[in-house]
């Protein structure tokens, strides 16, 4: 009996887990070595062909095109996970061939009687399999008790590898996944990030056999290389000159070095995932080769629904968004989509002020935004409440002032140069035109931006229905001229638009916008209705009460709303972010996946969720630890960390 358990916590599709075999336990992610590499965490051997590596837990591969006689199957030790037989992949023969290869594995399993325990089985998924076929056959394996699948990669990070990944993204979320084939060490972070638990280090071994020493970028042929590079690793530094030792000794050194490199990359990935920094590690690794950069960008496009589902909606620590590989990272793209689809401006906004972002987050704390604030306060006076501030930024697009502390708006970190490339400009222009369409046509847009920001506004101009006033005339937004021009423009507009005076509604606006952002539009009005009393400070905490009962609280540090049970009951009728619990009361501080009957598929790890009991009552509120679909599919693990519950 083999069991794969997924531990708490996500960083994108990457997860850490535990592979429990009969006699040993392995933590994932892990590397798969060969028969001889004691250095690797998991061995792999082929039945009847290799002798089983002695000291390590092993995966057993069944050879292709054999007749599996009972006597052969008897050789299978009752411990190793079993890789079912297939044939080398063939794009030439196409999807039908792949389908037959997959079906043959099912038949073999069904006919093996009790010789092959399904929970130990790993299915080989040929890269050419059609998605529909996979979707229909995987449940049949799942029913039998299979919980693992292997995918093959040729390491080119091209269409073949993306095909395998696309297939991987369709697996049940609780299956163990293997990446077999040729995986360069520098690609380990991205494969781990994309949800592969066991990664073949065969490339490291194969390179060693070819006399090749692998480096974080590229490789070196020894002893052909003219000048042998310096390496501080234990294996290399124990030799005075690699060119002088015999072949066998060299291979031993290279195995140790190359495997060491794989382990370094794996350990760095694991650590980054703990810190919620795996995505930025992956992004930084795209500079290893043009193929890696193209690979990540294409994967972001093709597999967004997959990567996004596992991407946390909350986070802590800086989020570096350095280059083009960040433009469509799931957290960034989702933010743009949430703002576009969920943010609804208050109807009383008659002016929209577009401002540039600042390096310092939240923007309000920056020097430039403090200046803007002074000028707007002075220019608008008691009509200030009528202005909607919108910060233009790359690559997040537009950020309504109310959401400036939300994740990742106040956490991202990027070189603010004001020079934008064409893609950034297009992203911002799209976001802006969608955003402005939500305001009244008679409202006036004031674009207090220059440089790249101004280009983005201009690029959106034809799609903007309101009139636009530019207030910088080519000068930086913080220049004295620009600020004066802004002040005067605002003053004039108060008269021209005969803006009314009124109280600041900032706190309520923040709460409502954040509620909409978290739970979908319309939530704000339900959770913070007209009769709510709202207290606090935007830079500290804002609390909303209805008849003295607290409904929710906004904490500036996280930029997020947390619900009370009363708040949960208000939001519940919207049928969003709900988790149906199999019981009438929650025991302890967690809802476990096994106790989840059903959950909103929109739930992402880190979301504020409402737990509903079998009586249809709200019985708890808390933070999700996994995606809604995972809650339904997983048999183990913490689904929700409960904050408040009905006693």
């Amino acid at each position: 009996m083999t069991e794969f358990l997924i531990n708490r916590g996500h960083d994108g599709p990457a997860r850490s887990g535990t592979l429990r075999l009969k006699s040993s336990t392995t933590s994932t992610p892990a590397l798969i070595g060969g028969t001889s590499s004691t250095d690797s965490i998991l061995g792999i051997w082929t039945l009847g062909r290799d002798s089983r590596p002695l000291s390590v837990p092993c995966i057993l591969a069944l050879p292709p095109l054999s007749d599996y006689t009972d006597s052969m199957l008897e050789l299978i030790r009752d411990d190793d996970p079993i890789l079912l037989p297939s044939l080398p992949s063939s794009s030439t023969l196409g999807p039908d061939f792949a389908a037959a290869l997959l079906n043959r594995q099912l038949v073999l399993l069904q006919n093996s009687g009790d010789m092959i325990e399904p929970s130990r089985v790993i299915v080989r998924i040929p890269p050419q399999v059609k998605h529909e076929l996979l979707d229909s056959i995987v449940p049949r394996f799942d029913e039998l008790g299979v919980r693992g699948a292997a995918f093959v990669f040729n390491g080119e990070l091209g269409p073949n590898d993306r095909d395998s990944l696309a297939l991987r993204s369709r697996l049940p979320r609780n299956w163990l996944t293997l990446a077999l084939g040729r995986i360069e060490p520098y690609a380990i972070p991205v494969f781990y990030y994309l949800g592969l638990d066991l990664i073949d280090a065969g490339r490291a071994l194969g390179a060693a056999a070819q006399g090749i020493r692998l480096w974080p970028r590229g490789y070196e042929s020894i002893p052909h290389s003219e000048e042998i590079r310096y390496c501080s690793c234990h294996a290399c530094s124990s030799q005075t000159n690699l060119a002088d030792i015999d072949r066998e000794a060299l291979q031993t050194v290279l195995v140790a070095h190359n495997m060491g490199l794989c382990r370094t990359f794996l350990s760095e990935s694991v650590n980054a995932a703990h810190l919620g920094q795996l995505r930025s590690l992956v992004e930084s690794m795209t500079h290893s080769s043009p193929a890696s950069a193209a690979f990540l960008r294409t994967v972001d496009k093709e597999l967004y629904t997959f990567t996004e589902e596992f991407t946390n909606t909350t986070g802590s620590g800086a989020l570096p968004l350095i280059g083009p590989e960040s433009y469509n990272s799931p957290v960034v793209r989702r933010f743009r989509e949430y703002v576009a689809s969920r943010y609804v401006p208050p109807s009383y906004k008659k002016l929209i002020l577009i401002l540039p972002c600042s390096a310092r987050k939240p923007y309000s704390d920056s020097k430039s935004h403090k200046l803007f604030r002074e000028v707007t306060d002075a220019g608008l006076g008691a009509s200030r409440f009528a202005v909607a501030e919108t910060i233009l930024t790359s690559p997040l697009g537009v950020i309504p002032r109310e959401l400036e502390r939300s994740y990742p708006a106040s956490f991202y970190d990027l070189p603010v140069t004001g020079d934008w490339d064409a893609e950034e400009t297009a992203i911002a222009a799209d976001a802006l035109s969608v955003h402005l369409a939500k305001f009244d046509k008679s409202a006036v847009v004031i674009a207090h931006v220059s440089g790249g920001y101004e280009d983005a506004v201009k690029a959106a101009e034809s799609r903007i229905q309101q009139s636009i006033i530019y207030t910088t005339s080519g000068q930086p937004a913080t220049s004295r001229e620009s600020l004066e021009s802004l002040g005067e423009t605002l003053k004039e507009l108060v008269d021209v638009l005969s803006l009314k005076s009124g109280r600041s509604l900032e706190n309520k606006e923040i709460l409502r916008a954040t509620a909409d952002f978290q739970f979908g539009s319309g939530s704000g009005e339900v959770l913070i209705p007209e009769n709510a009393s709202v207290w606090g400070k935007p830079y500290g905490m804002i609390v909303s009460r209805i008849e003295k009962e607290q409904t929710c609280a906004y904490v500036a540090a996280s930029g997020a709303l947390s619900l009370t049970l009363v708040g949960g009951r208000l939001v519940a009728p919207l049928e969003r972010y709900w988790v149906r619990f199999d019981g009438r009361r929650i025991k302890g501080g967690s809802v476990f996946a096994v106790g989840v009957l059903d959950a909103d598929p929109k739930i992402r790890p880190g979301d504020e969720v409402i737990v509903i009991g079998t009586d249809d009552e709200v019985i708890g509120v808390g933070r999700s630890e996994m995606s809604g679909i995972e809650m339904c599919e997983f048999e183990k693990g913490c689904a929700v960390s409960v904050r408040h519950k009905v006693d």
Partner: protein, 366 residues
């Protein structure tokens, strides 16, 4: 075989036919009076040295490849033939034209009758042409040995008796390609179209007329890993030796045009066998199969990317050893070879099996 194995086979047949595709129509329309090729070599005939004439008749080609069964996945012999079948007279002319290459050659000589299919298929070589050719051979006293090739379905008691009768006490060897003794491999990977039993029967029948059988063993049909190929080669040789073959000809796949193998190969999904694999097959077989059977190997395109090859540095030395072994039948000539690519080959044996990733560095450059 389960339904899905049948399905794999069906798809292989389809792809083989499609790969063959236009090539059938590209063949010259007109039957020839010259053979597709003919050449002579020096050879050993019994214990003497003599000349061997190999004739490849230009025919309409192998029936198995011509009809709906699609032919074998690695074979493009059909290309050597013509679209229309030559007449009996034209075939006889091809023969006499080829025989002129033996003019003045002293006794003994050996004549090898090849076609792009089966010499014994009356649809390919009409009976009248066959009889005439056999008569001419019988009449030439220099001819000590006659070799011909055929699929087993044309090997009947009757035809064997006819051969023996017309050629008298000349040595006769009949070449039959079993390729692999593994039924799955022979059907799915090769599409050979006959069973191991058909082959075994043919051997028995031939033997009853004192006709030896040269069994062709294919090294590394498509869809196999390098180690599959190694193990299948060794097993097949062992099996055909046990079935009573007199000579075993070991043939590493070479990538021929208009074949399924070529399609796979051009996409990096097939690599011809390593010379190390061929060497290892010979090494292991020569020790296990005893003296009664000769094992020969003369790889086509050895050392080239379309043929069996190693790293490029050692190819010639290994090919040379294989060649030498075929002549002297002494396994010691296969020993002592070494190259830095040996460890890479060992890696491929192991890693291809577990990963099922075709290891072909010719295309990726490393």
């Amino acid at each position: 075989m389960d339904d899905f194995t049948d399905e794999l086979h069906r798809l292989v047949v389809e792809e083989t036919r499609s790969a063959r595709g236009a090539s059938i129509r590209k063949r010259p329309a007109r039957p020839a009076i010259m053979p597709a090729s003919a050449w002579t070599t020096e050879t050993r005939i019994s214990s003497e040295t003599g000349r061997a004439l190999s004739i490849v008749f230009s025919t309409i080609g192998c029936a198995h490849a011509r009809d709906a069964s699609g032919g074998c996945t690695m074979c493009s012999y059909l290309l050597d033939g013509t679209q229309r079948s030559p007449s009996s007279e034209e075939l006889q002319q091809q023969f006499t034209n080829a025989m002129s290459k033996l003019e003045g050659a002293p006794s003994p000589v050996s004549v090898k009758l090849y076609t792009s299919g089966s010499f014994l298929d009356p649809g390919e070589v009409p009976v009248s042409a066959r009889t005439a050719i056999l008569e001419m051979l019988a009449a030439d006293s220099r001819v000590r040995e006659v070799v011909l090739e055929s699929r087993p379905e044309y090997v009947s008691q009757e035809v064997m008796a006819e051969l023996r009768k017309s050629l008298g006490d000349k040595e006769i060897e009949l070449g039959i390609g079993l390729e692999s003794s593994n039924d799955l491999i022979r059907s799915i990977c090769i599409n050979k179209g006959f069973s191991a039993e058909d082959f075994h029967n043919a051997i028995e029948i031939a033997r009853s007329e004192g006709i030896g059988v040269r069994a062709y063993v294919l090294v590394k049909p498509p869809f196999l890993t390098e180690r599959d190929a190694l193990l299948d080669g060794i097993q097949t040789i062992r099996d055909v030796a046990a079935m009573g073959a007199t000579t075993i000809s070991v043939n590493p796949v070479n990538v021929q045009s208009y074949t399924l193998v070529e399609r796979l190969w051009s996409r990096g999904e097939y690599r011809p066998p390593w010379l190390w694999t061929v060497l290892e097959i010979l090494r292991q077989s020569s020790s296990s199969s005893g003296d009664s059977v000769r094992i020969v190997c003369d790889p086509v395109a050895a050392g080239r990317i379309r043929g069996t090859h190693n790293c490029g540095v050692c190819d010639e030395a290994v090919s040379q050893a294989i060649h030498e072994f075929s002549l002297v039948q002494d396994a010691s000539v296969l020993e002592g070879l070494d190259c830095s690519c040996l460890s890479e080959w060992e890696h491929v044996l192991e890693h291809e099996d577990s990963s099922l990733l075709v290891h072909d560095h010719t295309l990726t450059g490393k």
